[in-house]
């Protein structure tokens, strides 16, 4: 500490302007950091699992978000502390890489820190702890590989995928219709998946929502939904076999970038200009018509006159379509985005089997559906719900489910959920610990204890006796030898839903192997990083 006391207990100053600086060193620094990390983990702990609670977040502008998704909570929490920010990053990177398990990874890191603190108090050097954790995490990842199951699915056999997505969704507020949402997610992912390359481009899945209707009305559309309507209220609302011209130029008189003036000084010029202007609109519409377009989608606005001409020539049009949506439409329909009318050719048109405008509710909410596209690999998940909050939360949940489905397509190994994988790893790490000579042994054991935190939190959140339940399940895992695994039975987990069995195979609770492995690795990495910090000097804020 930069503050010392004389024999009468009065403080005297060592560092200049110490009032404005805070400095923590050595063990204190580590402990402070650990406590910060743990505080973050503590916030998320109660959100874990199917019976986890939600958090209500009030943003700086007063908007309220209610969510259960770890990454979202941390992102919106307005965190100030640097170490806490690391934890936020941790959850975010899990979100980017895997998309699911964002809460679990933070809880695990928190419990690793907690164990580390105990070891620090016993005088073990932080680097040794970090090394021990590293060893242990390797053991755990290997063990996960060993207990994982390959898991077959195909175009028609999606049941197993749906089950896994349901596990993810069951902890969210949408669990009322998790089955339906899981099916939607799986179908969406399969529609865009490249099964040979085992890759999925999630950009092709657009998740869109509109307030109104029920959650049950959520649907998967093999095509694109655009929140726009036809530019003229009397244009046809439905177009079969549309040839779509995708334009980024407005139906307006040209606006050269250079400054210029067109001077009108005679009547002839006035007349000429008038005719030219008229001709201009006519040409634009004619050009679209000539190449055979039956629908115009434009990034910009239309002049009233052009609008009517379009309508008149029976050429439906949509205006003010955003850039991202325009790209998606171009991908889906196989069209090219055309920046100038002159460059419009028949090959550059996109094709779609059906374009229709659909209206909702008693008010005039309309959306444009572009379906049966030439390239069917773009899909939209269209969410309906009672209010904006619900839709946002559903979007997040669907995102998680989509990620899980994608991970399964990338690597079809799964481990069982409900904390069973953590317990199995904990047992394996514990057993392995004794083989290591040196101080690391303690760290490895601590790692095993830390792994128990997740099933423990699950049990706690489900209203069970955490210690009793955990020890019961643990003994069950060791006791019952199965034919598949010679040694242990890694399918026993916490019975969160009070179904009556601890066998996660029967409860159909799965998680992806890569997700779990990533959790262990990321959490260990961050903890290592935090442990290595031994001096924190921060300038005063004011």
């Amino acid at each position: 500490m930069a503050l010392a006391f004389d024999e009468y207990g009065r403080p005297f100053i060592i560092i200049k302007e110490q009032e404005q600086k805070t400095r923590l060193r050595g063990l204190d620094a580590q402990k402070a950091n650990i406590s910060a990390g743990r505080s973050v983990a503590r916030i998320l702990r109660t959100s874990l699992g199917p019976k986890g609670m939600d958090k209500m977040l009030s943003s700086p502008d007063g908007d309220v978000t209610i969510t259960n998704d770890g990454a979202t909570i941390l992102e919106q929490m307005d965190v100030d502390n640097q170490i806490a920010k690391l934890m936020v990053e941790l959850s975010r990177s899990q979100d980017y890489e895997i998309g699911d398990g964002t809460t679990g990874v933070v809880v695990m890191a928190g419990s690793l820190l907690e164990q580390a603190e105990k070891l620090l108090e016993r005088g073990i050097h932080p680097i040794r702890i970090a090394e021990g954790y590293e060893l242990a995490s390797r053991i755990a990842v290997e063990h996960l590989e060993r207990i994982a199951h390959k898991f077959e699915f195909g175009e028609n056999n999606i049941e197993s995928l749906v089950q896994t997505c349901m596990t993810t969704l069951s902890s969210k507020i949408v669990n009322r219709c998790k089955r339906q949402l899981a099916e939607i997610s799986v179908k969406a992912v399969l529609a865009v998946a490249d099964l040979e390359r085992k890759d999925v481009n999630l950009d092709l899945i657009k998740v869109d929502g509109k307030v109104g209707g029920k959650l049950e009305d959520t649907e998967l559309i093999y095509g694109i939904v655009v929140d726009k309507d036809m530019s003229h209220p009397q244009m046809p609302k439905q177009i079969q076999d549309a040839n779509i011209a995708i334009l980024t130029c407005p139906f307006e008189p040209p606006k050269p970038k250079t400054k210029h003036k067109v001077d009108i000084d005679t009547v002839e010029k006035f007349e000429a200009l008038r005719r030219q202007e008229h001709q201009y609109f006519d040409d634009m519409v004619q050009q679209c018509k000539d190449v055979g377009a039956t629908l115009v989608i434009c990034q910009w606005g239309f002049d009233d006159e052009a609008n009517h001409l379009l309508m008149h020539r029976n050429l439906p049009a949509v205006r003010w379509v955003g850039g991202v949506e325009l790209e998606l439409i171009a991908i889906a329909t196989g069209g090219r985005i055309v920046p100038r009318f002159q460059e419009l050719t028949a090959e550059k048109l996109g094709k779609a089997g059906l374009v229709r405008e659909k209206s909702f509710g008693t008010t005039k909410d309309r959306m444009l559906y572009i379906e049966h596209c030439a390239n069917s690999r773009a899909v939209t998940v269209f969410i309906r719900g009672g209010n904006k909050m619900m839709i946002e939360e559903t979007k997040r949940s669907i995102h998680d489910a989509l990620c899980v489905a994608r991970n399964l397509i990338r690597n079809n190994s799964i481990v069982y959920g409900g904390g069973s994988a953590e317990i199995a790893c904990s047992i394996a790490v514990e057993a392995a610990a004794d083989r290591y000579p040196g101080v690391e042994q303690y760290a490895i054991r601590a790692f095993a204890d830390a792994l128990d935190a997740i099933p423990m939190a699950l049990a706690e959140n489900s209203g069970l006796q955490p210690i009793e339940t955990l020890s019961a399940v643990k003994s069950q895992q060791i006791k019952i030898p199965t034919r598949v695994m010679q040694e242990n039975n890694p399918h026993c987990g916490i019975d969160c839903n009070d179904v009556g069995t601890t066998d996660m195979r029967e409860q159909n609770v799965f998680e992806t192997l890569i997700g779990k492995q990533q959790q262990v690795l990321l959490a260990t990495q961050v903890v290592k990083m935090i442990l290595k910090i031994d001096d924190v000097i921060s300038a005063a804020e004011f």
């Binding site: 402070a32 209610i66 109104g212 209220p233 009517h308 008149h312 509710g361 009672g386 209010n387 209203g463």
Partner: protein, 593 residues
């Protein structure tokens, strides 16, 4: 002390006040001492201990020196019981606020806006009240958002107050259960079961008269009357119910309320309001133009009829002599004249434009004996195009292919002191206009809201013709079914289910209370009645007793009741699930510079 004041940054006064006491504590204070310190602070009467502070102290207590603030300075965090309490209290406050507006004898609220003009609204409509509130409590916000959500207001239209009151009651019951150490998740599970059971119970009792047109119409009348009876229109509910039913039946099953136009004109009394099957445009006819046209051909247009500028960018007029100005002016006039000629070539006798029509073209139209209406707003144009079957035109080169609108008669009518244009005998039979008359703007606004509610409910009922009785009857039916479920459900959930039934009964209780009746007595009698088979008993507010709802003709739409039940359960669930509230620091305004 230095360290402490560091912890207590923001509570300078605090550390200052207690500095002497604090110095008594050792530097590495133990948690116990810190709590002592807190207790002392409270004893001295410093009741408002900021959360942030307490929270920081907890982290001190765990780790001695290690003090970490995770959140930004002004951000706060409430956890567990405390968070739950904050949300319960917020939600219940909202419920209590609108509670008194429930039922036929509910009271109105005056809302004064803080904006300029401080406009005043007098209303009984739950959605309107909630929309106008500035709410800080996040849980209350959830309730309001959920309630004024599109579903309840746009798609069902009515029952906003009931949702809030029911959700508030559910939370009130949940609070008691939480206090007796039942896990919120168990309560939610119970609520869900109960809601499902209540829905089933209602489904069993619905009456569907779709097949019998005569009966169906009386059903609609009853529903309209029930909806309107709690509003300002209750005096003339007969009249307005008929008006609403007629308007909705014209829609022939479509739920698009856009084709029903509501025009408000102050003056006269509410009774003078009427339904007109034509289309009324709140505009004046140009001077010197015919005031009455039979068999009108209408061209609906969106085009500039003022100066019709050259649209090519950067064009401007630059001349060097007065003569040339005159020439160009003449050319401009000529251009306009040509345009008008082109328009006239369509063979029309009525021209409606969205934009202004200047005097010159107006005169030209008048000469040709064409009725020209300028500045019809966007909605008016679209609606007019819809009802007359014409297209909205902006260019006029091909008169043969432009679709014109038609109607039998256009005439100028007087309502009060205002002149309006009425298009009657239009092609589309769905459109109609309701003209509301009333003493003041407040009355008219409220009347419009009430009518809108009634129209929404009716249009939904036309599609889903299942009907229930009103007056607290459905709540009692549900409560009875839920009670039975509670008795047969083992485990802790049964407490939650029982609580659900108590919350349901709170609605008839509130209706009775608002009417100034002895609610305890009435609800008890109602319960007794409902224990008989097939009872139609509900609260008869007028006579102040338990009455037969089928005889009194009080009905409600099943869809509304179902939406109320489900939305309220959903809202309560959402709030119950929360165990932590994190409030971010308010965004700082850039006022320091």
């Amino acid at each position: 002390i230095y360290v402490l004041s560091d912890f207590l940054r923001g509570q300078h006064l605090f550390s200052h006040l207690f500095s002497s006491r604090v110095s008594a504590l050792s530097f590495r204070s133990t948690p116990l001492r810190f709590y002592l310190f807190l207790v002392k602070a409270e004893l001295i009467g410093w009741q408002h201990i900021d959360f942030g502070f307490e929270w920081r102290c907890t982290s001190i207590s765990h780790f001695g020196m290690a003090i970490e603030r995770i959140l930004k300075d002004d951000a706060s965090e409430e956890k567990g019981e405390r968070a739950r309490m904050a949300s319960f209290v917020g939600a219940m406050a909202i419920a209590d606020l609108v509670k008194t507006t429930l039922g036929p004898k509910g009271m109105d609220k005056i809302l004064q806006s803080t904006g300029r003009g401080q406009t005043v609204t007098v209303t009984n409509d739950g959605a309107t009240i909630l929309k106008s509130l500035h709410i800080d409590n996040p849980a209350a916000k959830v309730l309001v958002e959920l309630d004024i959500s599109k579903v309840q207001d746009d798609e069902v239209g009515d029952g906003t107050t009931s949702v809030v009151v029911l959700a508030g009651e559910l939370l009130r019951e949940a609070e008691k259960l939480v206090a007796s150490k039942i896990h919120p998740m168990t309560i939610i599970a119970g609520f869900r079961m109960a809601a499902e059971c209540a829905r089933e119970a209602l489904l069993k009792k619905v009456v569907d008269n779709k097949a019998n047109e005569e009966k169906f119409k009386t059903d609609l009348m009853k529903i309209a009357k029930t909806t309107l009876s709690s509003k300002i229109l209750s005096q003339d509910k007969e009249h307005f119910a008929k008006l609403a039913v007629d308007a909705v039946l014209r829609l022939k099953g479509s739920t698009n309320l856009e084709s029903i136009q509501i025009i408000k004109k102050p003056g006269g009394s509410l009774k003078d309001s009427f339904l007109d099957e034509g289309f009324i445009l709140d505009k004046k006819i140009g001077i010197g133009q015919p005031k009455r046209i039979e068999n009108a051909n209408i061209l609906v247009a969106n085009t500039a009829m003022d100066t019709d500028k050259v649209k090519i960018y950067g064009a401007r007029v630059r001349v060097d002599s007065m003569a040339k100005v005159a020439d160009i002016e003449a050319a401009e006039k000529q251009k306009m004249r040509e345009k008008v000629d082109k328009i006239l070539a369509h063979g029309i006798n009525c021209f409606v434009n969205r934009q202004l029509i200047y005097n010159f073209p107006e005169e030209l139209f008048a000469n040709a004996g064409v009725l020209a209406i300028e500045h019809a707003d966007f909605d008016g144009i679209e609606r007019l195009a819809l009802v007359t079957g014409g297209e909205i035109a902006s260019t006029f080169d091909n008169p043969e292919s432009v679709k014109l609108g038609h109607c039998k008669l256009i005439e100028e009518i007087m309502i009060g002191e205002d002149k309006l244009i009425k298009f009657s005998g239009v092609e589309m039979g769905q459109a109609c206009t309701v003209v509301l008359r009333g003493a003041s703007h407040h009355v008219l606004d409220e009347a419009e809201r009430s009518l809108h509610d009634a129209l929404c409910v009716l249009s939904q009922t036309v599609n889903d013709s299942r009907v229930l009785f009103g007056g607290g009857w459905p709540e009692m039916v549900m409560a009875k079914a839920v009670d039975e479920l509670a008795r047969t459900t083992p485990g802790k959930r049964s407490h939650a289910i029982e609580a659900f039934s108590r919350a349901l009964v709170a609605i008839p209780t509130t209706i009775a209370d608002n009417a100034g009746l002895d609610s305890a007595e009435l609800v008890a009698r109602l319960r007794a009645e409902h224990n008989k088979e097939d009872s139609n008993a509900g609260i008869d507010v007028i006579s102040g007793s338990v009455g037969n709802m089928s005889e009194l003709g009080i009905s409600e739409a099943f869809k509304v009741k179902q939406a109320v039940l489900l939305s309220a359960t959903e809202a309560a669930e959402m709030i119950l699930r929360v165990d932590e509230i994190i409030t971010c620091a308010p965004r700082r305004r850039e006022d320091r510079m």
